[in-house]
């Protein structure tokens, strides 16, 4: 029997779910391997009571999200967190700084009350155990297909651990440090093929911290090249604001 899969969206821009529809050449093949039981974006239907694999996109921003995740964990044998929002809190977690009520007032004023059950944004694994992670903003579809296949076979997610620079060097890109600009490649988990740097933009850290990222030595590296390091932490928090290393 094909594994029964559900797709669940929390607080996100749906970009990773859109990516999932963007494997036009492979979409129908991948769908052939699984029994897709619930995917609100693509099909009418109700969330079933029983399933094997849950794919979760988005950050946790409401009490309802917590309840949903607890149900998911109690039901699914494998939980796959997809995208920066789910894996690190991503961009939504920028709203975790300061008082949430001030942010609420700035956006909604003091009229009728909306956004019930709101809480400070969190990553999915701060609420439930996560078995597989597919980082990035948005996810890379090659990696998605790979991790999904590994999950279906019960293998580990096998994420690349080294920093981006390791791959970037092989692309023969001119290092942003040579141009005196901040790039977060030295701290960030690789696996993206250094796409941004190859297209002329410094890494913004969307894939989260590399396993052996060393913030101290990264700052020293920049400093030695005469690059202003005063806002490096602010930049590094863009997708990783909940990382302990950046909260000091």
């Amino acid at each position: 029997m094909a594994p029964r899969v559900v797709v669940i969206g929390l607080a996100s821009d749906f970009g990773c779910q859109v990516q999932m529809t963007n494997i036009e050449d492979d979409l129908l093949d991948v769908l052939g391997l699984i029994d897709l039981q619930y995917w609100q974006l693509a099909s009418s239907g109700h969330m079933p009571d029983s399933y094997d694999v849950a794919i979760v996109e988005g950050a946790v921003t409401t009490l309802e999200h917590i309840a949903t995740l607890e149900r998911v964990r109690a039901t699914a044998s494998a939980v796959i967190a997809i995208g920066a929002c789910a894996v690190t809190g991503g961009i939504p977690a920028l709203a975790s700084h300061g008082r949430l009520e001030e942010r609420y007032s700035l956006v909604y004023g003091d009229g009728p009350s909306v956004a019930p059950g709101r809480i400070k944004p969190q990553a999915v694994d701060s609420v439930i155990d996560v078995d597989y992670r597919i980082p990035g903003c948005p996810i890379d579809m090659g990696e998605f297909v790979q991790v999904l296949s590994r999950a279906l076979q019960g293998l580990s997610d096998h994420l690349p651990q080294e920093p981006l620079c390791a791959i970037c060097k092989t692309k023969e890109n001119v290092c942003f440090y040579e141009r005196g600009e901040v790039c977060l490649g030295v701290l960030t988990r690789t696996g993206c093929d250094a796409r941004c740097v190859s297209l002329g933009r410094p890494c913004t850290g969307c894939r989260g911290l590399a396993e052996d990222a060393n913030l101290e030595s990264a700052l020293r590296l920049l400093d030695e090249r005469g690059i202003d390091t005063s806002d490096v932490l602010v930049r590094a928090r863009l997708y990783n604001t909940l990382e302990e290393a950046f909260t000091r």
Partner: protein
């Protein structure tokens, strides 16, 4: 009295719930509750470097991320008093059209079409009508490929920055892509034929219709705001005086009005205001279609998107010709940080999108505002639902609810945009 609900309406981007109260066969009330969670984007950009704003705000929406990115960039360029080259402008238009092609194909085939043939999703059609599904995926992929060609990636493009592009496509790839665009026109024409043949509901929408308009161009990247009924044209910089947003108790998205009335934005208003600027093949398709210019049947927003597919393909081929003829390559314009305020607008697939920012003398953002097309449409959509529901209430319940869902989907709502 019985309360009927459709929780988390399927085949739309984001989470919304329809609630209808029916008493003795008469519709008492209809609501669309937007339960998509708030992310407070307007608060997130405050205190960040101005260069971060396009990157952050494009994460409002994964479907129209090129629009959010470019609208943010345009607003900041306006605040900085920065002008960009014609080459940059043409490349930006290609980026917007990449998202039109991708979005319209996804909306029409994956989201809307199953309704017309009574299926829960498009997937069963892969067995029964593989030609139709192949066509859908071809157009959708072409849109993604265009955004990737110009932007480096289809969701959250990489290369567009304040002042220009950090990288640009190889002319040979552009030239080859031009031929693919032209070859795909027949797929778009077939899409118009398909949606013209479907039996369509009718609801006469009362709201004002707004779209960007720019002389002879089918405006999607620049121009002024035009109103269909009132007949005025006003600059984008005045958008906050034109559109009033207010918080509604049952929705995490605000509702908008213009001159106290609900309003509609999107493909149907664009066609109503800019039909004369449509490309030749798109104009022919409009002529043949059941839409007459000035139509107020909101359901025709679907067919209008199909007509826009033809226009997008022909227009993009022309833009690529222009890029090849210009030669050279994009330079990112340098700029000096200065305090200022600026607003920008583009046409996203589902309607006009506005961003504005206030920047201080050190380049830090002090305030930001975003009004998305779906937020503009919600009041009008709900008014249409009130009007439409009584005309179908005598149908069996599943069919009745499906008819209302179809109206919601006709607006191609993006609820994560609408809340943001």
């Amino acid at each position: 009295m019985s309360t009927l609900t459709v929780e988390h309406v399927a085949r739309i981007e984001g989470h919304g719930t329809i609630t209808v109260d029916v008493d003795a066969g008469a519709v008492q009330s209809v609501h669309l509750d937007i339960v998509e969670p708030a992310r407070y984007f307007e608060s997130m950009v405050v205190g960040r470097r101005l260069e971060d704003a396009p990157l952050i705000t494009s994460r409002i929406c994964g479907i129209c991320s090129p629009n959010h990115m470019l609208t943010s960039i345009k607003a900041l360029e306006s605040a900085l008093g920065l002008e960009v080259s014609e080459r940059t402008q043409v490349m930006r238009k290609l980026l917007v059209y990449g998202s039109f092609l991708q979005n319209h194909a996804t909306h029409l085939y994956l989201f809307a079409a199953p309704d017309y043939v009574g299926l829960p999703s498009v997937f069963p059609l892969a067995e029964t009508h593989p030609d139709v599904v192949d066509r859908a995926l071809r157009i959708k992929k072409l849109g993604n490929d265009l955004t990737t060609l110009v932007g480096g990636r289809s969701v959250h493009p990489v290369t567009a920055v304040i002042g220009g592009f950090t990288s640009e496509p190889d002319p040979r790839r552009l030239e080859a892509f031009r031929d693919t665009l032209i070859a795909t026109v027949r797929d778009a024409v077939a899409t118009v034929d398909l949606f013209s043949a479907f039996e369509e509901f009718e609801v006469h929408t009362d709201g004002e219709m707004l779209a960007l308009t720019a002389g002879d161009d089918y405006a999607i990247y620049d121009g002024e705001i035009a109103a269909l009924r009132a007949g005025w044209r006003r600059p984008v910089s005045e958008y906050r005086d034109i559109i009033t947003e207010r918080v509604i108790g049952h929705s995490n998205a605000k509702h908008s009005t213009v001159g106290g009335e609900p309003l509609m934005v999107g493909a149907l208003p664009r066609i109503n205001l800019n039909a004369a600027a449509l490309s030749p093949e798109a104009a022919r398709a409009l002529e043949k279609s059941p839409i007459t210019v000035g139509s107020r049947n909101a359901f025709f927003n679907n067919l209008s998107q199909a007509i826009e597919l033809i226009d997008a393909l022909e227009r993009c081929a022309g833009y690529i010709d222009r890029l090849l003829e210009m030669g050279g390559s994009t330079q990112v314009e340098k700029f000096d940080i200065a305090a200022g305020r600026g607003a920008g607008a583009t046409e996203a697939p589902r309607g006009t999108l506005y961003h504005s920012y206030e920047v201080d003398a050190t380049g830090i953002i002090r305030a930001g505002d975003v009004i998305t097309p779906t937020a503009q449409n919600l009041a009008n959509l709900e008014a249409d639902m009130w009007k439409f529901a009584p005309t179908v209430v005598d149908r069996p319940r599943p069919e009745f609810l499906m008819a209302i869902e179809r109206l919601v989907r006709a607006y191609d709502p993006c609820l994560s945009c609408s809340v943001h």
